[in-house]
Amino acid sequence: MTLNKEMNKTTNNRLLKMSSEYKQASFTTIISFLLTLVLALNSFGFGTQAAKPAVLAVTIAYAAFTVLQLWITRRIRHDVLTADTLQKSTRRFGWVLLLSGLTANFFMVSFAFNLIKTKKTPEYVFAVYMVMVQLFIVAVSALNLFKPYVADLFPLGMLVLLSVAFFYLIVLVLMARFVDEHAADKRLIWIAIPLILTAATGNLFALLLSVSLLLKIRRQKQPGISQWNLIWTKITRNTTAMLGMFFIVFVFAISVSSYLTFDYDLAIANNFAVLLQPPSLAYPLGTDDFGRDMFSRIVFGARISLIVGVLSTAIPFIVGGMLGALSGYYGRRTDNVIMRLLDILYAVPGILLAIAIIAAFGANTVNLIIALSVGAIPTYARTMRANVLMVSNLEYVDSARALGSGDMEILFKHIVPNSLAPMIVKATLTIGGAVIATSSLSYLGLGVEPHIPEWGNILKIGSTYLESHSYLAIFPGLAIIALVLSFNFLGDGLRDALDPKMD
């Protein structure tokens, strides 16, 4: 290879890496290809030696869209290398790709929305994800239509979900038209307020969007970009972080809307007419040994996992954070006493301490949350202490002291808010760990009460049918992995966005 050629290649690579569309396009191509492969493998029943027509049709649809995606990726590559920007005609193909939403290909839809709009504000991205979450919830809830009976509130719930989805679509269009990088139309305030109310359906993207919108309207004339906007711009550009956030919000929203659209009886009541059914339309993930619908059980299990995961992260976050802040700020004896006492807690592995606590006080959800929280306190305290030690030496703390602020005011007004970023990242990354710990302890019989449909409990039943009905063990495990993976994705994204070293 001549030097010239090699240099050309390097510049090309750099150009391609700079283009966020190209990066997302190739990512989407690979994921779609993998999804198609998985579907293709599943479309052929090895037991019956015959193809399943429904799955095969979906596979073909996926394959077609993957080919289209590949072609668009090549086009983007060409555009970037020749003109440095994407041609309008390339962007128009995004509209075609939107059709892949019919096959529930989340990745492709998110890429299509990205491709359509040239300048992406965080508000636009939030709106896109908000709409997608809502549509997914509607679709998943609609699966209940195939059941022998539905919950009493199902029609009302679906009506609410659908109308909210319609409202979100309008919001998306408005966001695309009337919000740019620095300013938003003042009249949008009348959209932001109902938007906050719709967040009650569990769609947290709506909340994020309205907060972001209100902030932008308030800072209309001020120069510069706000911290909020800066951070969210970074996160919304990060495909995997958004993917994680999408799934978390989806799980949260489905656990909220399941109060309306899912029937709890299907998840807990025994139905001996349908024991150990394989997956079908009425029971999308099959039924277990008591004839309970796995799909409903997993949906209801999400609620427990989220609650336990979030609470057992929030408690040590607050307690450990306080202890760490006090010991970092006051130093000397306070520091020594607090940290040496926490060293004792730190010496016992979290899960072992949890087992000991549960052994003493019995296995139930409240004890589980306490047990998991206690073990996590020292790590939060250490993180917080290190941050506070660093921040306390900064000039603005000295100036606050010179202006006569008291210790508490300095600590909680100046130091703590500025040392929260690593704590938030840590918390996001450890929620996943808490979810795993919850299900592990439930699996051992030490967590949530066995009659509650929690993912670990479901898996425990599944593990006994591993040989004959392995889907009972596979699906809840996939749900756990997906949720934990999402928290890890989001945590990584947050770290990249909040860590100034990455710039």
């Binding site: 592995p349 072992l352 052994a359 593990s463 063990a473 992995i481």
Partner: protein
């Protein structure tokens, strides 16, 4: 010639003791320990000190200087100055104070200032005259520098000299310090875990003997296991039991707890060590490959797999492995048996997955940080081979955070082994604790948890020593007192 060599060695020996003593007496705790351990020597030196002190002139000079200063104009000036300062301060803040209190404050401040000046002047005078002020610790040091004194006092001060010699090697000093700290931490762990179990609302006697048990039977059970004693007495016997490896009999099955734990512990430990080895062998090359090709397709795929490894619950991974390798492919046995080493593979892989993933991610990020440093460019510019630069210059410097992660996660792995053991039906310490918790069998749980905590503490000491081995900066920090 030989005589000289011996003398030199003697000299070096006294030098060593003297310098170590000098460093150690900087820490009050060590100083007290030294004085107490070498009590006969301390008394002897103290007598010497009192004798010497009599003809020490420094005190007299200090007193002279002080009275001189006090009587001179200097003191008056000082107090006036301070009074004025205080008055101005009060004026500025608008807080009027009484004349008397102002005078009082200024007098104390002036007195302080006076003392300071007197001390510095005395030091100047002493230095000019070539006299050294003798303090007790200085006296001790000088005496220790004398080989003859050392020889005479060696037997009575054996404990103290042993202590000094141990601490003259900073590695040993460090290990000893860490071990003493660990002992306290372990003591805390015993108190913590015992208290948790003591507070338990469950009654082991009722659980084990069943509902039909009479009060007499329950009382007999409680007496047998010491459950009728006070909290302090029970705690004391628990601490004693942990220290002497004699935890008595378990409530259920009446087996010797310490012996059972000793039986079950090796399997778990072996499992964790193998998992650790697997993690290192797989993760470090993966991390380095990822770091050398950042943001490439390979990097993304490897890191994605690592993230999945972090997100996968142990027990589910175990189940899927059993489903895949034992049930479908029939390659590996589904349950563990000590005689078949093949049955060890799946548990080790399952247990080590999280550690592998974390180490790979950590290796990548710390390598990336190091690889962009200037000295790497220098090393490349010197013409060193790529491999040499990577391993010698980059990797050794990236090791510290990797070691930290290993130290942190090893504990988690040992504690979390319970889940893996349950899945593969291994009778290790983790599943032992889980089995015993339903009673709850206090000595068994306490013993299991505390011995695992002890193992983790020892591993952490080793990791801290490895830090020093890897990083010369930490080595030099260890030498400081």
């Amino acid at each position: 010639m030989q005589q000289q060599a011996i003398e030199q060695r003697n000299f070096r020996f006294t030098e060593r003791i003297q310098s170590t003593f000098m460093k150690m007496q900087l820490r009050p705790l060590y100083y007290i320990l030294l004085l107490v351990l070498g009590l006969p020597v301390t008394v002897a030196v103290f007598v010497l000190y009192v004798i010497r002190k009599k003809d020490d002139r420094s005190n007299r000079i200090h007193n002279d200087v002080y009275t001189q200063l006090r009587d001179s104009d200097y003191y008056r000036q000082l107090s006036e100055e301070f009074a004025e300062q205080i008055a101005r301060k009060n004026q500025f803040f608008g807080t009027p104070e009484q004349e008397e209190s102002v005078l009082k404050q200024s007098a104390t401040q002036a007195e302080e200032e006076l003392h300071k000046t007197a001390t510095t002047r005395t030091a100047e005078i002493l230095e000019a005259q070539g006299i050294r002020k003798t303090t007790f610790s200085q006296m001790f040091q000088t005496v220790l520098g004398n080989p003859r004194f050392l020889m005479v006092s060696f037997v009575p001060g054996l404990l103290m000299y042993g202590f000094i010699l141990l601490f003259s090697n900073f590695y040993i000093k460090y290990v000893l310090e860490r071990l003493v700290m660990s002992v306290f931490v372990i003591l805390g762990v015993v108190v913590l875990v015992f208290t948790i179990l003591y507070l338990s609302p469950f009654d082991p006697a009722a659980n084990l003997l069943g509902e039909a048990a009479t009060q007499q039977q329950i009382d007999a059970f409680n007496r047998l296991h010491g459950l009728d004693q006070s909290y302090i007495a029970q705690l004391w016997s628990a601490v004693q039991g942990i220290a002497t490896f004699d935890l008595g009999m378990s409530y259920e099955g009446n087996e010797n707890v310490a012996a059972t734990i000793a039986n079950k512990f090796p399997v778990t430990f072996l499992l964790t060590v193998f998992a650790l080895v697997m993690a290192l062998v797989v993760a470090i090359p993966v991390g380095i490959i990822s770091a050398t090709r950042p943001n490439s397709f390979l990097d993304y795929s490897l890191m994605f797999i690592a993230l999945i490894g972090l997100s996968i619950p142990n027990f589910w991974q175990g189940l899927i492995f059993i489903l895949g390798f034992s049930i479908n492919l029939e390659l590996l046995p589904a349950t563990y048996s000590p005689s078949n080493w093949l049955s060890m593979i799946m548990p080790v892989v399952v247990l080590g997955t999280a550690l592998t993933a974390s180490v790979a991610r950590m290796t990548r990020s710390s390598m990336l940080e190091v690889i962009n440093e200037d000295y790497i460019i220098t090393a490349k510019a010197k013409g060193l081979s790529r491999r040499y630069v990577l391993w010698k210059h980059a990797f050794t410097n990236a090791l510290i955070p990797i070691l930290t992660v290993i130290g942190l996660l090893f504990g988690g792995m040992l504690g979390g082994a319970a889940v893996t053991e349950k899945v593969f039906n291994i009778s290790g310490i983790g599943s032992y604790i889980v089995d015993k918790q339903f009673v709850p069998d206090i000595p068994s749980i306490l013993g299991g948890v505390v011995y695992i905590a002890i193992t983790i503490s020892i591993v952490n000491v080793i990791i801290d020593l490895l830090y020093a081995f890897v990083d010369p900066r930490i080595r030099s920090k260890m030498k400081q007192y």
